[in-house]
Structure formats: C-alpha cells, structure tokens
C-alpha cells in the first residue's frame, strides 16, 4: 500500500531543491504523464500517481520537513483522486464533447468508405429492397449495486416482448447498452434494428461512485478513533475487515485497494475510500464523569482556522 520510493528521486530533484525547483519538476512530469492525456497507458498512470504523491509530500513545507527529519515516510501521500476525465470520455458519455456535438453520428458514410471501400456504403438500401429495421430506444433503471457488480434484468417492451438485459460490471449512469437485432423488424428480408437501452442508476444510501472508485462515510466510535482497532466495512462485494489506525479522527480517509468497482473492460479495479466519522451516541455516566475530570495536556481548539479567517 505504501509507496516508499524516494520522492526526491521520483521528481528528479536534489534534496536541497527549492519550492520552485519542485514545482517546475512536477509541472514537467505532469505534462508528460497526466493520465487523461495518455489514455490506456497504464505505465503513465502509475508514473503519474507516484509523481503526484511525491509532489503532495514535497510541496507542503511542513510535510517535507517532517519527511526530511524521518518522522514520516513517503507512503500514504497518495491523494484520493477526483473523477477522471478519461473514464467518461472513453465511452458514450464522451460524445458530449465530440467536435460535431452530442448529436453527431460518429461514423459517416465517408468514414466507412475510407476504411472498407465503397462496397460497404451503409445505411442505404442496397438496391435489392432489403432495408434494415430501425433502432429502438428504451430506458432501464437499475440498483446501484447491480450497476457496480453486473446483473441480468428483464425488460418488458411496449409490444409485450420481454428482453433479458445483461448489465455489465461497472455500468455507468446514462450508459447505452446495445442488444443486436432486438429493435424494429427489417423490410424485404433486411436485418432487424437494435434495441438501445439507456441505463439509469439509482443512488445508494451509503456508497457514492466516482469513476471506478467508491466512497463511503464510515461511522466509528470514539474508542475506535482513539485506540484504533478492527472494524467491518461494507463494500459493493460484501463486508471486509479493516484496521483503523490509532489516533484517527473524523475526516481521515482510508483506502481499501481494489474494493471499488471490479476490473472490467480494460479498467483496473477501483478503490474504496472510507472517510471516518466519529459518532459519540448517547454518553453514559462513566464517560460524562471522565470528561468532567479530564484536563487535556494540550487543550485543543478545532475551530482555530475559522477564527483566523474572520
């Protein structure tokens, strides 16, 4: 889990590098390896993760000083990445940013002729009267977990036919599934059209999806936060055990690698990010008693940053 590579080496800077040197080195490597500019290139993606983590550590003077003093190692700097453009742009959602606009068909007769020669001019009747049936559009609402894990759902069409629709693992909101030959009937012996099914995904009460990662707020008790300990975490594939490190707090984000959306269609499995949320519940007499007596060695003021801004 921890990335223990030396962040100075990752960025290619000396240990004495100035913040400007670090910024320049990061900028250069980000241009080279940004995964949205290198889609499908796993090497770039891995390199970019390392570079971001190194930058995260070295661009923060406080963290950098602690690293230099050996108080922290290079692990754990990997930030929860926001949504990745490539994950959306690679599928039907990306048509929104096609140059011809979302309605533009992506294959023109010229394209196909360029690729296969004029014998494949499609969409036009071939002169023998055979006309392909129309594509028909439907929508299907699915549960969050079925979209993540994959499922088969039965869809009843307006004409009474039923279709078993396979929802693939990792299906995203508004993804269009194509069922070949399930659309309108062809004419003159032409093939049937396709059924195009737009999937809508219902939200989940605990999980939130971001690309192939899953996020979740994980309530923990005050003693689990202070002392650490094993807890059960729900994941889309069922509960797993996770160790809460001692001295955790509300807002701490823990990662369960590979417990997000399962690997599918060339995408690696996503991660699950559990953000801790300390829940006190109804305090009992012993806790009240303890807190009344308790004099912290270093009094904490969690609202300090708010006061400074005013």
């Amino acid at each position: 889990m921890a990335n223990l590579d030396d962040p100075y080496q990752t960025l290619g800077v000396a240990r004495s590098a100035t913040p400007d040197d670090i910024r320049r080195a990061y900028r250069k490597l980000a241009k080279q390896h940004h995964p949205d500019l290198n889609p499908g290139n796993l090497k770039s993606e891995e390199a970019f993760k390392k570079v971001s983590a190194a930058n995260e550590l070295l661009s923060d003077p406080d963290k950098r000083a602690r690293f230099d003093r050996g108080e922290i190692d290079a692990g754990g700097q990997e930030q929860a990445q926001g949504p990745s453009y490539r994950n959306y742009a690679d599928n039907a959602a990306g048509r929104r940013y096609s140059r011809g606009g979302p309605e533009a068909t992506e294959w023109s007769a010229e394209d196909l002729e360029g690729m296969f020669g004029s014998m494949f001019g499609t969409g036009r009747p071939r002169g023998d009267g055979r006309i392909r049936g129309q594509d028909e559009h439907y929508s299907l609402t699915t549960d969050f977990l079925d979209a993540i894990n994959g499922a088969v759902r039965r869809l009843t069409l307006p004409d009474g036919r039923t279709l078993d629709v396979k929802i693939p693992v990792g299906t995203t909101e508004r993804q269009v599934l194509r069922l070949r030959g399930q659309g309108g009937a062809g004419q003159g012996g032409g093939p049937s059209g396709d059924a195009l099914i737009t999937v809508q995904v219902n939200p989940h009460t605990h999980f939130e999806r971001s690309g192939n990662d899953i996020r979740l707020i994980l309530p923990i008790t005050i003693s689990e936060a202070v002392l650490g300990g094993p807890v059960q975490v729900p994941t889309p594939q069922g509960p797993v055990k996770m160790q809460i490190p001692p001295h955790s707090d509300s807002g701490t984000e823990l990662r369960l690698r590979g417990r997000g959306v399962a690997a599918h269609g060339g995408h690696a499995a996503g991660n699950l990010y559990a953000k801790l949320s300390v829940v006190i519940g109804t305090p009992d007499a012993a806790l009240e008693e303890f807190l009344t007596q308790w004099k912290p060695q270093v009094p904490a003021n969690p609202r300090k940053s708010m006061e400074e801004r005013q």
């Binding site: 990061y26 900028r27 980000a30 241009k31 940004h34 949205d36 500019l37 889609p39 499908g40 926001g82 949504p83 990745s84 453009y85 490539r86 994950n87 959306y88 742009a89 690679d90 599928n91 039907a92 959602a93 990306g94 048509r95 929104r96 940013y97 096609s98 140059r99 992506e106 294959w107 394209d111 995203t172 909101e173 508004r174 070949r180 971001s210 690309g211």
Partner: protein, 113 residues
C-alpha cells in the same frame, strides 16, 4: 447531476468567473434544466482536467483550446476504435478475427506493406 453552486463548493479555489468563461468558450458543456446549468460527471471531470492543465501544467488560456481540441479528437478516435473492435467481435467469425489480429501484428513488424 449537480448545480454550478455545488460544483464550485466542491472545488476549492475554482473561480466562478473562470468557469463561466470556459462554458461560454464551449470548453465545458453542461446541460440546462429550467434555464440553469446542470453538470454531469463528465463535465465535473472535464472541469478538473482543465484546472490541472491550467494550474499543474501551466497552460494558458490561449493554448488551452488547441489542447482540448486534440484531446477531444483523441477520445473520439478511441470511441471509434472501441466501437470498431466491438463490431468486429460481434459480427466477424472467429477465424476472421484471428486473421485480422495476425495481419495487424505482421504489419506492425513491417512484414506487410
């Protein structure tokens, strides 16, 4: 789907005027519902990409449309490439698929011209 207010609240440091200019320039293309912008996941991801291009890679707004246009063409090609692969997988007999794959490998090695 989220509103422009939520998008800005979720992206600390994102200036509303910058975002509105990007929309005006057609670099970000949110939908509209009852006259207000709504952002799908891809729009949110695109805003993130534009911010990374601007901040992390120091690309100014003069150069940005050139990059976005190339990015859009890259992904359009990738969608076509995937669609072509799907079409071949679904329509071509197995032996034709093997022949195609072998042919492409040969070409890549310079065996065919």
């Amino acid at each position: 789907m989220i509103s422009i207010e939520i998008l800005i609240a979720q992206n600390s440091g994102l200036d509303r005027r910058d975002l509105e200019r990007w929309i005006l320039n057609d670099w970000v293309r949110p939908g509209r519902q009852s006259g207000v912008f709504v952002f799908q996941e891809i729009d949110v991801a695109r805003v993130k990409l534009i911010r990374e291009l601007r901040q992390d890679m120091d690309i100014d707004e003069e150069a940005l449309p050139v990059i976005l246009s190339l990015v859009d063409q890259l992904y359009e090609m990738r969608r076509r490439y995937h669609a072509l692969g799907d079409a071949i997988a679904e329509t071509a007999p197995d032996d034709l698929q093997r022949k195609l794959a072998a042919h492409l490998v040969m070409r890549a090695r310079g065996g065919l011209h």
